[in-house]
Symmetry: C2
Subunit: 370 residues, 2 copies
């Protein structure tokens, strides 16, 4: 089975399994409390009906008004500040639902607004995230130099650790702030920040809904907006670092397969071609070699030894020191790619156009992760 | 200013402007209705207090019970079916909020569950989306062949149109189904599907909350889950096609800049190097040439003429017909990359290691879009 198909199938099975396991655990954690709460609330309802001498129909009428009043109780939702807050929840896909368009025109515009706004925001946060990562990588490299460390390259592990610490810090800062402003416990405020910055946005906790804050506390409103957008950028940076590469795996494998087919086709015609001239065949072999270089060397970009990503761009012949490389005794190899020792045999054999493909296949184990 | 920084700044400004414009429009669309509804609901509340002889404190007590009863009224939320539904809303980040963990243990597990589940789901949907796109591309190519069309390559425009039609169809199918099962209008069901499949998930409309459907209608429950997951895959395919490439732009520019620096460094030492031997310099020039090929030819992957993406992998020397290419009179060029005519002059001059950089820079205008 083609690698991309196997990978996709494995991911589907993993996700489905993850859902089943999650459902079982949520059931175990919440089900009993739900049953208890349901019965308690039923008792309270019955008690209130008796106390206030209300029928079930009376209660239903009161219930309708209460539910419709809920967003209004929290304050004015659709003046500029509230609308800006809502617009943020749309294009970031947080979607608390604390306010939702009640007019059909509002719903139509909301859909059109999201259609353009969501991709724009996705690209923006990834762009900002990449810049943050590049800057952090640069700072860390300079710091290592200043500290006089022997290896000043910034590894993927370094970046992931820093990214993780940044995310945790962002959540803690938000938790402190919102617990103070909203009167929540630190844990509930942390939970709110987490649910917000992952864009899940349940809406069980929503900032700026107490004491008409949207109209009466402009500094707190500004802080909340800045916090949400900055926090999403920090999370975006971490996703850009740790997850984005996995989202392009299939496309890159397709590209490499296409190059492989091209190489096969070219070498097939080079070997079998009748006339055409020695010069033309020579050129074809050069291109086969280029393709081969390209296929092998592109693996460098994804090697877990990410020092290459920062200080040593692809195919820097020397000054390479990676834990993956064999001893550089071969002068050609010391100037070449560092995928494996087979590199050398692969290069010299490409000109025949035959042997290279077994080498190419061995070198195709580009990613250690799925 | 570096291109990546300029791009990021432009995106930030665009997004901020988009938010301001959106806020103004939502204000205009919803504010008046909100004011009217608020005053109507206030009148109704006053009326009900009078009718049922309730004080404001009595009403507050009833209000508390009504709001707490809301999720319970919709049915049992935390048995396996409901928990599975909730788990879907977590890892897909839809996050309706129709049910949210009430226990602290549930909240903690929810965060941990999302921490692993969201990246897994992102990668899974992108993987499935890429497979869908590849398959559709293949089908369309075969269809064009069967219809005897002259140009059988599948362009980006073809794929975007098909992707858009698929998304619209998915939304319409869902709208028909949910309007039937939930008793919503077609428009409101369409709005629900849109808000769900974009993962905004306000929670103003939530399927499976009527008539205890989660416990009493297993086929409808299964349909809803399958619809949500399949619909997200279709949207994911469209995002994979149209948006993902823009999310990696900065990283690719960084990579290319690094390669450029390497080329400069290598050619600088090649020109200025004292001894070292002709063989070593020859090898260095080969690598400079490889880098040069790579830089130039990688532009092919992103050319808007996406026929190259499917039927013509990178550096297929002949059978290339693109609107971007000059007449292939030069035999060398007809076997080479098709970025531009400068290719030939670039290649022959790389061995001096000097002229190629102006060529490289001209060819650096890889993406027409920001």
């Amino acid at each position: 089975m083609k690698r991309q198909n196997a990978r996709t199938l494995a991911l589907i099975i993993c996700t489905f399994t993850y859902l089943i396991v999650g459902a079982a655990i949520f059931d175990a954690l919440e089900s009993r409390t739900e049953t208890t709460q349901r019965s308690e609330l039923h008792q309270r309802k019955v008690g209130l009906l008796k106390t206030f001498n209300l029928s079930t129909e009376d209660f239903d009428e009161l219930e309708k008004v209460v539910l419709q009043r809920k967003p209004h109780k929290a304050g004015v939702q659709w003046k500029f500040a509230g609308s800006f807050y809502f617009a943020i929840t749309v294009i970031t896909t947080i979607g608390y639902g604390h306010a939702a368009p009640s007019t059909d025109g509002g719903k139509v515009f909301c859909m059109l607004y999201a259609l353009l706004g969501i991709p724009l925001t996705l690209v923006m946060f990834q762009s900002v995230g990449e810049r943050i990562n590049t800057f952090v990588r640069y700072l860390l490299h300079r710091l290592k130099k200043c500290l006089g460390m022997r290896h000043t390259e910034v590894s993927m592990a370094n970046m992931v650790i820093i990214g993780f610490i940044s995310c945790m810090s962002t959540l803690c800062v938000g938790a402190l702030a919102f617990s103070h402003f909203e009167g929540w416990s630190f844990f509930h405020a942390y939970y709110y920040c987490f649910i917000t910055l992952t864009t899940i946005g349940f809406g069980d906790y929503v900032a700026l809904q107490n004491k008409h804050a949207l109209q009466t506390k402009p500094e707190y409103v500004a802080f909340s907006f800045i916090y949400i957008l900055t926090g999403l950028a920090v999370i975006g940076a971490f996703l850009n670092l740790a997850v984005l590469r996995f989202m392009t795996m299939n496309a890159e494998d397709e590209k490499r397969d296409a190059e492989h087919r091209a190489l096969l086709a070219r070498n097939g015609s080079a070997v079998g071609g009748s006339g055409g001239g020695g010069a033309s065949r020579g050129l074809q072999n050069v291109y086969a070699e280029v393709l081969h270089f390209q296929s092998m060397c592109s693996c460098l970009w994804y090697k877990s030894n990410e020092k290459l990503e920062y200080s040593i761009p692809m195919i820097i012949p020397h000054d390479l020191s990676t834990s993956d490389t064999e001893a550089f005794s071969n002068p050609f190899q010391s100037n070449g790619c560092v995928c494996s020792e087979q590199h050398h045999s692969g290069i010299s054999s490409v000109s025949t156009g035959l042997h290279s493909f077994s080498t190419y296949r061995r070198l195709n184990k580009r990613r250690s992760s799925i």
